[in-house]
Structure formats: structure tokens, C-alpha cells
Amino acid sequence: MSEYNSMEMMICVAARFMEDGCSAVVGTGAPCAAGMLAQKTTSPNMLILFEAGGVAPLLPTMPVSVGDSRTTWKALMASSMTETMSLTARGMVDYAFLGGAQIDKYGNLNSTMIGNDYRHPKVRLPGSGGANDLASNCWRVMVITPHEKRRFVEKVDFITSPGYLEGRSSRDDSGLPADTGTYKIVTNLAVMGFDNPERQMEIETLSPGVTVEEVQENTGFELLIKSDVHETEPPSKETLRILREEVDPHKYIIGR
């Protein structure tokens, strides 16, 4: 594990899921790095969007805000939030990258509050921002997050951004668009998906040297385990070089 840190690993693994020619709304930080890396490796024709209105910029550096001027640097459009959000509603956007303080076994995300009373939160968090919107209308949600027991909970205190809600058909039943939902969770320990009838989080691949038990120990609920679970392919030297030299030379993200 000494050849790369876990942030580098997560970014490289997440980037790999971006098939060529896909479209994605990315945020600041790791998602943006993953998007930029994908464009330089697996998905040269990827369409990168930012929720405040940046469309297909030639990102010169990492943005500090999803609305800052980097997101429209040599862009094809400096549009609006309404434009980006309506693109997701029309089904034009394949991927959204989201995070949260908590994630549960159905891939629901919480970024609103900790506690059990909305009117009196133990801890107030920022709220949805555009996360709920993207989780509702993009085809697939990607999550890049450190794997911690306090973060991976049986049930989130507040569903800010919907995953599969209570599993099975409950997402569809709520009225959310068909065939959408949380796609992959990329952590320092594993890659997990929901490709099962229960729509529960399931270990698909394990980071090099990590065991199923170790993942389970760091998770607050019981994970499903895919029958063919195997090791996550580590990032190639070339991919790491591109990430370090071209995507994040100042180590804003990968230096964390």
C-alpha cells in the first residue's frame, strides 16, 4: 500500500467506472479529481457538468466551489443551476458523485442533521444542496468516502439523498424515476454495490490486503457479499502519474 495513499486509490478506482462518453455532475474535491482523471484515462469523451451551471469546462485547476470560475474555464456553457438540474431531470446525466455524514445499507445519504428530532438536531449539517436533486434524477450515484463505522449506519438519521430507501421496490414506489439509484460506494477498504433484489449494500471488491471481516468491522450494519468477491485492481503507475502530475499537482485532494 505504500505506492499510493487511500485517497489516490479511491479516486483511481472511482474514475475507472466512468465509461467513455458518459456524463457526470461532479462536486469539488475527490469527485472532481475522479472526473478529471477519467477524462485523461478511461473516458476521454466524458461530459463534465457542475450543478451551478458549468458545462464541459477545460478545468485548469481544482475548483473550490461548484459554482466558481474554474467550472466555466473554457467551458461550452456558463449556464444556470436550472439548466443543469433540468438536464438531470431529462435523463441526460449518467453519474452524480455524492457524499454525506452517514450512509445506510440501502445507500441513503444524510447531510442534513444528526439526531432524531428535526426540530432539535444534535448537530445541524448543511442540508441537501443539490445532492438530493442529483440523487433523485441522475441515473447512477457514485459515493467516494472513508470507511468508518460511524458513517456506515444501519439507518441514516435523515434521508437527505435517496438511495433505495427501504430496499426492494421502495425507491420506485416513491415516484423517483425508474432505473436510478446508488451505484457504487468506493471506500479505502472496498467497492460496494446494490446489484441484488434487496437493494442492499454488497461488497464487490476489496482493496489490496483488506479482508471481508475488516470491512464488516468498520460497518454499522451487515453487508452482503458478492459471490465472486475479489481484490480491487490497484491503480496503474501511469494512472497514478496522471493523477499526481496532471490532475492534482498541488496535492489539494490527494495530499489530505
Binding site: S65, G67, D68, G127, P177
Partner: protein
Amino acid sequence: MKVYFEGEGELFTNPDPDIARKHFRKKNKTLVDKRMKIEDAIGKFVKDGEYIAIGGFGGVRVPTALMHEILRQGKKELGLSGHTATHDFQILAAGECFNRCDIAYIIGLEARGISSNARKYMESGKVKTTEWTNAGMAWRFKAAALGIPFLLGRQSLGSDGIKWSASKVIECPYTSKKYATFPALYPDVALIHVHEADKYGNATIRGVSIADHDLARAAKHVVISCERIVDTEEFRNDPHKVMIPYFCVDAVCEIPHGCYPGNMPFEYFSDEDHLKEWLTVERDPEKFKAFLDKNIFSCKNFNEYLEKNGGLDKMQELRKKEFLEE
């Protein structure tokens, strides 16, 4: 046509376009000079107890100077649209100017971290809240701008947020599918910082417009601050430039660097050091009080704030940073 569900959240503004119509009918459609001092603009158009909305995207193209003036004038009990609110929210929370808030995004400054003071204020019980999303709020402004009482969307469906919103879930009479409704939001005042405006209020925005196209049309009053006043001829010679027409606007304040420490696209980048200072100093209430006194309350105008934080040298440095010349 079924209503499946109704959120428990309070509506802080009336979504009925007929109430707005009465107001908009009386709006002045005449080309009159609306330039005024920032003190007068805030004094005249931001009244205690009213509902305000801030343009831009938190740390991008925010009307910092207008917000500082709101604090200096001690405005209280405002309603606030917490739509992609970051540094703007932090400032208004520092002044405890509002007591109710429509929340899409608050207290955080995106990747920079959380404002501890804003969080404390929101956890204090002093602020009534209703929960929304960024698109939900954008949809609410769009509905208001279109003169209709609500707009449909599928955002929020299935989430806990919708329980604390004022959305309803209805059955679409065409598709029989479920859709959430987003009631029109007509703020009493919108404060929007733009690149250029003429003296009548015609205004142009560069970079992303976020929801400001619709916000300017939804608000009953609009106060514009701008980097530069330009001659109306510039707009008449290229009628594709104006995003906000004069008849939406009530006041125009020329305030160069008026979005500092935010990022003004194509003008200057954000001052990340100063924003970090805000986040740091907030953790110590005493220091924070002194910081606010220094940077806001004791400043006779916005230039004094700029001077205290680096003046022209800093402005030039941020301009270089914007154009990647650092």
C-alpha cells in the same frame, strides 16, 4: 387527481401569483435613474421582518457589500432563502438578522468547512426552518417568475427532507405518476451582485447565473450591486447582454469588488485566506466579535473593509489569480 402527501414545513411566503400580480402591476416601468448609496438602498428596500433572497452561489458573485450594510443597519427578524448560501449565510448569521429560513444549503462553505457560528445559530432554536433542495428552491423561483403557483419535480420524493418542506406529492393527471410540487417563492427583496448595470437597472451577469435569472423576476424588490455602471448604449447595441431588465430593479449601487472575498467570475478570484480567517476566528466568540467590529461594524463603507484586508494590492492579486496568472 390525488394529493398523496403534504409536507409539514411552514410556507414563509405566499405562493399565490395574484398577490404578486398586484405588486408587479404597480412597479415602475419607466426608465428612471435608480442609482443610490448602499445605505439608502438597504434602508429603503430591506425592512425588518421581510423575506430576502441573496443572488449568486454562496462564495461566488455574492453581494457582500449589501450584506455588510444589512448588519450595520441592524436588520432583524428577516426571512431568508438559504439557497446555496455559504459565506452569505455566514455573514447574516453573524448578525443574527433572520429568524426563519428556507434551507437548501446552509452553514457550510463547501469544501472549506463548516461555519461554527452559523451552525450554533441554527442549533440555538432561534430560527424556524423549512427544508428544501437546490433544485427545489430554483424551481420555486422559476414558478414565481412564470407567474404560476407551483412547479413539478421529482427531487425530494422519498426523502425525509420532503416531510419538513411545504411540498405536496400529487398524482400527475397525464401519467398517473407521483410528482412533488414546489410552491412559487416571491421574496420581498432580492440582493444580487452583477458585473455591469446601467443607471436604470438593466444588468448583465458573466459566468454561471445559478438561479438569478428567475430570482430577479420573482422578487418584489430587487437591489443590484455592480462592479461597474455602464452606459445604456452598451446594452442597446447588443440586446443579448441584459439578463435582468430594468423594470425588475429598484436600486443600483456601484460597488467595485462588491463580492469580495467571494469569487467574481472574469473579475477576481475568492480570497481563500480571508474566508479561512472567518472560519477560524468564529471558534472564539470574543475574537469573532472583535473581528466583526473591525471588518463590518466599524467600517464606514465597503472600501474600508477592502483596505483592512489588503486593499488594491490584494484586489490585483485576486485578479491575477482569477486569470491563472499567479
